[in-house]
Symmetry: C2
Subunit: 289 residues, 2 copies
């Protein structure tokens, strides 16, 4: 089964547990809306790719970790779109969760997805029990305090927050978790793999800033220009469009260089370049990717 099939199967298995025994219909519908159909599944694909490069000797454990990462990512988007944060009406070209189901259901959907993520991981604990605590702690570090997604979202609203730290926590931390989980689930040392996640997270953030500033609605699937409207630190405000595009090119190369020596190095390099190309707004595509 290819990566995409493995990820969707693992997400579906996680939902099967949440959906058992007639759950509250609005909440489960909102959770589904947040996760299916998905975006590019960039983070779980990265997790699977790193696992593949490390031998992937426990694929069910890898799949559970990948599903957990995607569920945590989706949870963060649901809460990030809330009226008290971005107040975003659109996500993936459809109404955001709070726009479709109301604010209270959206808060609960985010909460429930966080819990479901950890549950999805732990139901695979029996596959290789002595890898589970390390996987779990890498995930909590990626989303929790003091360095994970919630910290990044909090930095965004702190006056005088360090921009670099904010970005690293908000975007980089879950990329780092994805690469490190891929290594741990396959019995490899995770430390070699964190730099790849860091570089990819930085590249992704710059690409996202470019999409927000100059991408078409079709490319981003959401309302553009929000960084500028909300006065948030972003690469365009710092470097201009050309400078940001240049930085993105450098970061993609740095990402490729951060791949540790391994059997799957070529496959991983191709994946990084493919993702980079996909993320760059078409009007810059030729030069940046």
């Amino acid at each position: 089964m290819d990566s995409s099939g493995r990820i969707e199967r693992a997400l579906t298995a996680a939902f099967a547990r949440a959906e058992a025994d007639e759950p509250p219909p609005q909440l489960i519908a909102a959770m589904r809306h947040a996760v299916f159909p998905g975006g590019a599944r960039v983070r779980p694909s990265l997790c699977l790719a790193v696992a593949g490069a490390c031998g992937d000797d426990a694929p069910l454990l890898t799949d559970a970790a990948a599903a957990a990462i995607e569920l945590l990512h989706c949870a963060s988007l649901v809460h990030d779109d809330l009226p008290c944060f971005d107040n975003a009406p659109l996500r993936r070209d459809r109404p955001s969760v709070h726009a479709a189901f109301g604010e209270s259901v959206a808060v609960l959907a985010g909460d429930a997805l966080i819990v479901l993520a950890f549950e999805a991981l732990m139901t695979a604990a029996h596959v290789v029990p002595d890898r589970i605590a390390a996987l779990h702690l890498i995930l909590t570090r990626g989303v929790g305090m003091p360095h994970g997604i919630v910290a990044g979202q909090a930095w965004e609203s702190e006056p005088g927050a360090p921009a670099e730290r904010c970005r690293r926590a908000k975007t980089g931390a879950l990329f780092v978790a994805a690469t490190m989980c891929g290594a741990i689930s396959s019995g490899a040392s995770p430390t070699l793999w964190s730099a790849l996640g860091e570089r990819l997270g930085e590249a992704y953030q710059v690409a996202d800033d470019l999409l927000d500033a100059i991408g078409s609605h079709e490319e981003s699937g959401k309302s553009g220009g929000r960084d500028a409207a909300l006065g948030r630190p972003n690469a365009i405000a710092e470097l201009g469009v050309d400078g940001a595009a240049r930085k993105l090119r450098q970061l993609v190369e740095a990402t490729v260089e951060a791949i540790p020596p391994c059997a799957g190095r070529n496959v991983l390099s191709d994946l990084v370049r493919f993702q980079a190309k996909r993320l760059v707004p078409q009007q810059l595509g030729k030069s940046a990717a």
Copy 2:
């Protein structure tokens, strides 16, 4: 060390990880505000009491589970108080988290406390590794879908929701998790202990409804009369004050009877009666406790 000391020590240890390395100051302050100083710590005390009755052969694991339960409880209160739910200005006789820190920080504080709860449990995985997955899955069941706190909160806003199921999920599920975790952390079978959690959860819900309806501000530490104002299903609307007080007396006796045969049965019975007495509004105290 007594139960209270163990619980505060475990909560403080969990915060030490979240507070390392200069976290976003508003968010960490909001998380602290939600957890310290605590309420009665009913659920973690219950977890420790059950563990004690089962031998408590791995106290550090029990303490971590108890801290996780309390953190999940505090997280649910933070989100439940939000403007889109109860819009409660007060909690434990102080401003609620969103009233003190704003709505966006309150959403993030709830999220971060959920993550911290699971992290607190997993950092004790090494104590007895083969008990950790069962503990974790009991916790996710207590807070997640389809039967945990988030499901209970969602049922509250579903038209025509089954009142009994709503209450069991919103209050009972975490009491059940507390008793079952106490058993598992001590190597005992959890199934014998779920009935105690269920009965105690029911008793607690009726006591909470009584406090909301007729308790003084000093007793509840929050604004009263919210069930009636929000039209939520509650024991007073169903049974009247006298009927609810009668039901509470019956539930306390049913709770004591639900304690399985064990060495610590008397200690547990005393704890249940003590908690029941503490929870009953003073004007009913003599007859109900």
